[in-house]
Symmetry: D2
């Protein structure tokens, strides 16, 4: 049986994780092309990873690579154009978070894929992270009774690429970048599409990135769901010491705590240091928490494998563009709330070019 051909759009941090995931864990997929805006970077990436073709032109990468699937690992502001191009070309799409810069873009992207009869998967890896999926299974077994509170944290010292700090390209800071994970995960834990009653958020700018960005670099967001459960997303670009990704689930019959980095690591003390401890860990001298199978533990291979299987079996992915849109709506409400200091009820109807405008004004 032939492999499903994938064009990878992007060659940054997340594209590295995707290519590793395809190669090691998704035997039915073949990455046939890579695009990035700097052609020489595309070539380097392609040669390093054994990809046959590379492109510096987005349209050509989609149209001329012979791909079945487009995997979008581009900066946020390019998401809309890439999906529309892919849909027009009849390609299935899997797209990294967040879905789009605004709800209008999101709606167009979803509509374009629907009318082209192509799949649009929203690549929320936390819905596939095996430890968190174990937690979800527990909860669904009734282990902790009825959920009344969840917490999801994702915190580190700030992204790797410059575009994240440019709000015109990213649309927002730590909440847009990382809070989308927590928000998506709350929805996933509550069955996939729970009704959201209100959103509250508090944001802080400056801190350790004062000279680099106007975006929020620390945030807390409370999503209130129908039935009363709340999800608390805490996100930071100002937390030193490496990546932190953890959850807490409180129910009427118990509680679960899980943690993807420190909680899976080997504990190392090294006088001289060594190569790499975990994402954004900094120095490896002294005590470090050494993570293993970082991509696997975050759910990337499982997510990509699921999408390739959906394409091949013509099934609907578990997480779709509609989920990405729902997350984006909550993000919008959060930025609005951070400005007003009030709970913002959903649905959110204000039109805005990018979420952070609602906070920065």
């Amino acid at each position: 049986m032939t492999k499903t051909k994938v064009a990878l759009l992007g060659a940054g941090f997340i594209a590295d994780i995707h290519i590793e995931s395809y190669h090691r864990f998704v035997p039915d997929a073949e990455v046939v092309a890579v695009f990035t805006r700097k052609p020489e970077r595309a070539e380097t990436f392609a040669k390093k990873h054994g990809i046959a073709k590379w492109f510096g032109d987005l349209d050509k990468a989609i149209n001329d690579s012979g791909c079945d699937v487009v995997d979008i690992c581009l900066p946020n502001f390019l998401h809309h154009r890439a999906v529309l191009t892919a849909a027009r070309a009849g390609k299935h799409v899997i797209i990294e978070k967040p879905l789009a810069m605004n709800l209008e873009e999101a709606d167009e992207m979803i509509a374009a894929c629907a009318s082209a009869n192509r799949k649009l998967m929203y690549a929320e890896e936390l819905c596939f992270a095996p430890k968190y999926e174990r937690v979800r299974k527990l909860v669904n077994e009734g282990a902790v009774g009825k959920i009344f509170q969840m917490r999801q944290c994702e915190k580190h010292s700030g992204p790797h690429s410059d575009w994240f700090y440019n709000v015109d390209q990213s649309g927002g800071g730590a909440l847009m970048d990382m809070g989308c994970h927590g928000i998506a995960w709350f929805r996933w834990m509550l069955g996939g599409d729970p009704r959201v009653v209100s959103v509250y958020a508090h944001m802080q700018g400056g801190l350790i990135h004062e000279k680099r960005t106007r975006a929020e670099v620390n945030s807390l967001c409370i999503v209130e769901f129908e039935g009363g459960a709340i999800g608390v997303a805490e996100n930071s670009w100002s937390k030193h010491g490496g990546m932190d990704d953890r959850v807490e689930v409180y129910g009427t019959g118990g509680v679960v705590y899980a943690d993807l980095f420190v909680g899976n690591s080997a504990l190392t003390y090294s006088e001289k240091g060594y190569g790499y401890a975990m994402e954004k860990a900094g120095s490896t001298k002294g005590w470090t928490f050494t993570i293993f199978e970082e991509a696997f533990n975050q759910g990337y291979p499982q997510e990509l494998k699921h999408f390739i299987e959906c394409v091949r079996a013509d099934q609907q992915p578990l997480v779709t563009g509609a989920d990405g849109r729902a997350v984006l709506e909550i993000l919008n409400a959060a930025y609005q709330s951070a400005r007003t200091g009030q709970k913002v009820p959903l649905p959110f109807r204000l039109k805005v070019k990018k979420p952070i405008d609602l906070w920065l004004g």
Copy 2:
């Protein structure tokens, strides 16, 4: 490209893990047959796992199943016969620990595969457990300097199947069953085939299995390597609360601690309990350590995938019958030491039907 056909011998605890591993992580393999001594059990297992053929006769399973590879998950006393039959039939062999009941059997098994020009992989999953492999990589990078002490523990409340407790079928107790992992792992950490200077062991019988077995149910074994490093294997069939598998590596430049179960788990409190927490965990009410991807975290899929790749590419597996034999020699010395209260130097030359005879006398 056609798949490599595997006949699975055994349908117990470990066979379950192997079949899960093949199905989820080894796409180039196809399990075409299963054998177990009770035909109806073989049929049940086959149907449950979608295996085309089942056998209650070992020779037929090997000869008539059309397999390329025999995967031996049988009680210890059947290892010798199964390997010899497989080698004669021209099959590649992967075999669960321990390799054999005694060194003479081991030598015959290795020779049989060699003369048939077939591969014989010794399935030591700890050499593939991703967290421990991360530790090995660190150490090889120089993170902890020169190793002078290692500790490996594997402890639980006792095996699932009756044959483990019958020393005529198992050859020994907790050390034979679980210490083989630690011993293999020490060798692996020291480059694969370090010279062993001496072995010391202390064993305890009775405890929580007094009426069930004459085997040691708790043991401590110190392996002294050339150059002075020691490995301390602690193994128990009398430790309550679920599986414990952990390592410590002490070097002149640092230290690493890692843990496959508690250290990878979600922490759960459940009033009502739930389905399953981890291997041999008992009740799931109250606090439990909930493990995820248990097979993956122990290295089973990686080990099987490696073997299938070796078969397909005609390469030597990283861990072979010679390693299994070396472990068995150390086990022999350990049982002898437990009787005499003295360090036993290697090579070990006493002939014995099964290791535990050296202790029980």
Copy 3:
């Protein structure tokens, strides 16, 4: 030198901790009398703990016991009367949290002690808990740079005594009972008397105590301080599995995590169970986190010793009625916010009989 004579008002859960703390760690104090509303209970408590006198009448306990100091471990609604009586009688006062039912009471209590020239210590033990004090020392040394976020959780499955559930006697639920700790600790960490800009809170009623109380049984409160730092207090009476008390401190130069219960415990697995694991832990079968020196680790002896020293040396306690009042003001704002869904700015000027009225309406 003579000992400082203490009259202990109250004979419940917290009085037990105080008496243990005096006896083991405060040699300069002597508890000479105990009061509780049920005389026979007072007598039992007195005899158990070797206290010379017992009273079923509050005024007599204060006036006729020969005490120098009154230690108030009474239900919240009795705080005001007890302090006024003590001040009039010329006694120094140490009082358990929360200070009072409302700000008017608080003001009168503070004024009464001031005009009587007696000390009024607000017994916030977290300001004396040795692990948290270690954290504060670190922070003051600059270990984590400038604080931008703190989190303090205190969660368990609900209080021991009925009066907590009766909002007329308690004034509020989980936030009033436990959030006062987090709020006091945020202030303490920021130098003692930082200006509060706003307060936001979300509260949930019902859950596992639906039939027992109208009070909030789960809450989250965000206190925003001048300069931008926030403190997030999470409090619950609906969290199973024993007491949880933990802090996180995020600064521009690092982070600290500390935990008074699980993080100080021995990890135990017991087939049969045993006497006691930790506060509100429930069953001791299976896995439990076994705490030691529970009172010491929470700071009770240190707090009481500090107060007795202040009395003897005529010095001002580190935490006073003014701090208790400031906490109560924040609590008021939190209940108001939970009703309105908006940040509430301070100072808080609404008059209310008890904080929870602001939420329940």
Copy 4:
């Protein structure tokens, strides 16, 4: 009531801990004098800690200080002389581990105190460490059934003072220095005076202190008790990253793990570092485990308080010279075993000037 007057012999690392313990936790004691071999050091120590008298002469410190009690924190080779002098002067004695350089010294010391009718307490702080005492209480409640294995580790990167490395002054290395704790604790856990059947030990020299000492710098010692339980003491002067002190207790009905340092710490990440994390922790940049109340958590104040109470109430201390002698006998057997590679049965009858001679030959 007058205070019990203590002469502190020694002004090094452990004397610092004792003086802190007396001052903060033992109000009935008054340290009236300090001796150390360098008079100017004695003066500095005395002035720093508010001690009235200081001595550079051992006999004078004992005879002329007006003390009731001598607290011996001297290098091992001075223990014998100090105790004999104290006994002759009619002083009660508390002495740091190990009791003496050899059994003959130990016998004389015990006899001298007995004939002077003075108390001789062996200061094994692990018998008073509150977390370990919690473990012992659990075990005595039957929480883990009958003990069959214990492990006690004490490991760091080597002592602070030069005399430890000089075997003529110390008598031995890591085992003598730290293994005495584990051995004493095993006896304590088994009721105080269990019969020892045999001792086995493995020792390593060199490692990170190759140029500094002939002593063992890493060791493992197995003590086998009547009834079959074993205690495994692991001790190191070559383990980087700060102090490690932990226990494991395996019983037929459960298991307990406890840890005095990492297990009680706050977890800190600091970009710039800070003052102090824990004993021998090295750098405080990056991740560190920050311990609090280090002396209290190791049991020093409790131990000293117990001794002062015994002196004042004329009661026998819980741990005496006889216990110190029993530990020393086991240490002797361990060094002998490390040489011969055999279990050494007790009682141990070989005469030797210092334990390490049995290993070095």
